[in-house]
Symmetry: C2
Subunit: 193 residues, 2 copies
Amino acid sequence: PLTTIQTHNYQIHHISLGSHTGTHIDAPSHFIPNSLTIDQIPLDQLIGPVVLIDLSKHIVRPRQRIVWNDIIKQCDEKDLKPGVIVVICTGWYERWGTQEYFDHPYLMEDVAKGLIERGIRAVAVDMLNPDETVLEGEGENGFKFHQVFLGAGGVIVENITNLKSLIGLQNVHISLLPLKLEGVDGSPLRAIA
Amino acid sequence: PLTTIQTHNYQIHHISLGSHTGTHIDAPSHFIPNSLTIDQIPLDQLIGPVVLIDLSKHIVRPRQRIVWNDIIKQCDEKDLKPGVIVVICTGWYERWGTQEYFDHPYLMEDVAKGLIERGIRAVAVDMLNPDETVLEGEGENGFKFHQVFLGAGGVIVENITNLKSLIGLQNVHISLLPLKLEGVDGSPLRAIA
């Protein structure tokens, strides 16, 4: 705390965190030079109807690669259209706080391309990273999902939790509003559906 | 930035701010010992129908005191009921970034009591502070609005902007979701209506 109720009548904390801490959003400028920062993303890109891709029963292996075919098998392809927010539930969020959390499944480049081709500009994942996380440097596929999806003006929400509670629900809408941090490449956010 | 695209392929910023920076919410624990912190506030207290109190044409003097009678003259008293979010538009947000911003109008204790008596537990103001802001220490009325309203389990959103765009609209709902910062007394937030 910066102040306490005992000494100042009120309590204030100092908050110090990375722009990609906890549940957060990646702006295009996280990977793409001279692209949109977090304060410049239109809010209507961040609120919308959900297409939930439930992979939690199918993709449970560490570092499993998720390809476009895995996605379209778990949804009605005609639902993948401009304005929807694709939410990918691997169930990996249940490993938050463990070493296993870093060994999450990851999305191949064809998933980014498939979503972009269908006009989708927002995706949320219950993992640390849609690309592979390695201790040093990059995985074999680098940051291709980030580069393709953010490169097309998309945004990615990472570390979203409690997705299993959405399975089976109809007409779910989600809100993924970041703080308005000028010039910054990402922001923690409070997601609700 | 902590990393740059040139050197690391991606850019990350470090964010450092007070828990009461910009548009933000005060949790009860901002003033009340052993009370709710920001992560403990039920989300349904933070999303709801708006009762807009437009004082922007009436209360325009620096350090003007706003009393309960000013509030009920600008609304239909039967709209003040549990679950609504009272949004007080003084127009003072237009002075953001100037010295005058500190000389904002402020709410007297009877406003806090009137709202609490009607079951209202969330209020948003377009000012730095619902109580008087003085350079050193406290104003003549201290922090009574904070103490009474937070003391009854209410939350206060400060520095909200663009309220004039809501004047005259019907059936406005507002969302005031803070970050889920464990044990903290307040949080910046992105407000939408």
